[in-house]
Symmetry: C2
Subunit: 334 residues, 2 copies
């Protein structure tokens, strides 16, 4: 591995995603990507007693699909990197404890999937693991209760708000000559533009995405058109527009190749999700259901995956803190 410019790391050629898996729930099944997920669990409780336990099931099953696709067993995984949006990341720790795999908990809010991919690749490169895994998830009902209001309260949603995806994505990575390779990555910095509106996560996260994309393009001396797809995590409609605005001031125009997982996963005209989807499970499930298969079959050859996360908590917001955000980037190639 070598470093490129000030911030970018470039992996050796043989870091491959050899397995991926995704799960989603009823609302995601009704969206445009409904046919792509490995499994739809229609019950929001996933036959468990609580939404938090259900979220663990979504993550477990996504990981099992990833294992299956890679031809690996749980005991073949040397390290798994996982985290989620719940306090103390319980859907990951309770969901994955049954597998008995050496575990590093990570917290990047909705940027977790990219953080997990990067750390998996770094651990392979270093020799610390021979086979790494990553996983994350989110659940509409557990997230609403924790970050906003219990569902039973029936709170009115603002037009800029996003709908937390109920679902999960997981990847297995190995040193191998696979069809899906991680070529470069860039770790996000915490960016705080003094956005205070908890119902406008897109606006809070867009500056972090812009900071990351701009640093990456500078380091690699590449332009947006050289990529088939620049895919942000879950900026939604509002955040995507903010991203265009910020990048435009730096003379960068990504519009022709940009898409956003929060815009892809739901049909905003029919599904009443306002500004789009969100949650750690949003970009994870879109990546593992829709993007990675298209890279595998050669439809996409060079993709930038930029997962964005908002790092506030209900406590920091109640205490008057703004919403700091982060965006980690992974360059995935065929």
């Amino acid at each position: 591995m070598k470093r490129l410019g000030r911030y970018t790391i470039e992996f050796d050629e043989n870091i491959a995603v050899t397995g991926y898996g995704s799960t989603a729930c009823k609302k995601e099944a009704e969206g445009p990507l409904g046919g792509n997920f490995d499994k739809i669990i229609y019950d929001y409780y996933a036959s468990m007693k609580t939404y938090e336990q259900a979220e663990s099931v979504f993550q477990q099953e996504a990981f099992e699909f990833a294992l299956k696709r890679s031809g690996k067993k749980a005991q073949d995984i040397d390290i798994i990197f996982a985290g989620d949006l719940l306090n103390q990341c319980i859907s990951s720790s309770y969901g994955l404890k049954v597998f008995g795999i050496p575990y590093f908990g990570i917290y990047g809010a909705c940027s977790t999937m990219a953080e997990g991919l990067i750390l998996s690749a770094i651990s392979l490169s270093s020799g610390a693991s021979r086979c790494s895994a990553c996983a994350t998830s989110s659940h509409f009902c557990s997230a609403e209760r924790q970050y906003r209001f219990p569902l039973d309260y029936g709170g009115q949603r603002t037009p800029t708000s996003q709908w937390t995806v109920t679902g999960s994505g997981s990847c297995i990575l190995e040193k191998a000559n696979g069809k899906i390779k991680l070529s470069r990555a860039l770790a996000g910095r915490i960016v705080d533009y003094n956005i205070f509106d908890l119902n406008n996560m897109g606006a809070a996260m867009a500056p972090a995405a812009a900071d990351t994309i701009s640093r990456f393009l500078a380091d690699t001396k590449t332009s947006p058109e050289e990529y088939d797809l620049i895919l942000t995590g879950d900026l939604g409609e509002v955040g995507s527009k903010c991203l265009y605005d910020i990048l435009e001031k730096e003379g960068i125009d990504i519009k022709s190749v940009h898409n956003d997982c929060g815009l892809m996963i739901f049909d905003r005209k029919k599904q009443d999700v306002h500004a789009g989807g969100s949650g750690a499970g949003c970009c994870a499930s879109v990546l593992c259901s829709t993007i990675l298969p298209k890279i595998q079959e050669g439809y996409y050859k060079n993709v930038l995956f930029i997962a964005t996360g908002a790092l506030m908590s209900p406590t920091s917001s109640q205490q008057g803190g703004a919403i700091p955000a982060i965006a980690h980037l992974v360059n995935i190639i065929a």
Copy 2:
């Protein structure tokens, strides 16, 4: 780097801790290690408006002492790994955002310091960073409010309960021929012995520590007496006894070389902390104030640092979940 046995990783010879810093508060200053911390902040609010913001200050200042000792500036750090006990790890994200360093959030509860050290070393080994940092913290008042009761409630503490340390520790790591070297590491697995008592974290974490120590000794074919010190994170009095019991059944006796950061930081006879200290800042501040200097001066030559973490949340406990735990191990040598 190479792998040793089934689980252990062995770093090349040149992974060194070149800087470390620690901060603590009034109660820690009154304990046996009071003279060792880089800075005592006597005000629990650290001149901020809330305890959470204060915790960020403890972490910021510990990191700044680590930077100073290593002769580095913030912009020299390629990646920082940080996390804490607060929901969404806000003391780390709000505390470290001012530095503008590429940031990977981690969550290992009280095991965070060891996780951060391991990931810092892995990223150096891989070439992903030329200089890594890690940091964590805890604060008695923010932790009590979040995990148990607001202080004003005046809840009675049980004899097995531990006192959350208000403090922080941070390290800078580089590829260098330093006097403090990371030689080996082992990532923890999530272990769940069906302990439900939130006032007995030591008992919940001891099985994870035992699992980790036992796997490490088997992989490295070493015995406890070969180490100057086997230092667990914050098992306290109850957890340390549980650890001895579990290991004894496997024929492993660590008593003669064992100590625990939760037992070291307070004087349990005088300071009314019941079973000892705890919190992510406990083992971090003990390591960075007391242990690393003694390795640097050659007093200790071969130390096992095993930070333990309990991975439950108030929500998982309210829903009847047991307390899963994890323990990450780092072998630090002179």
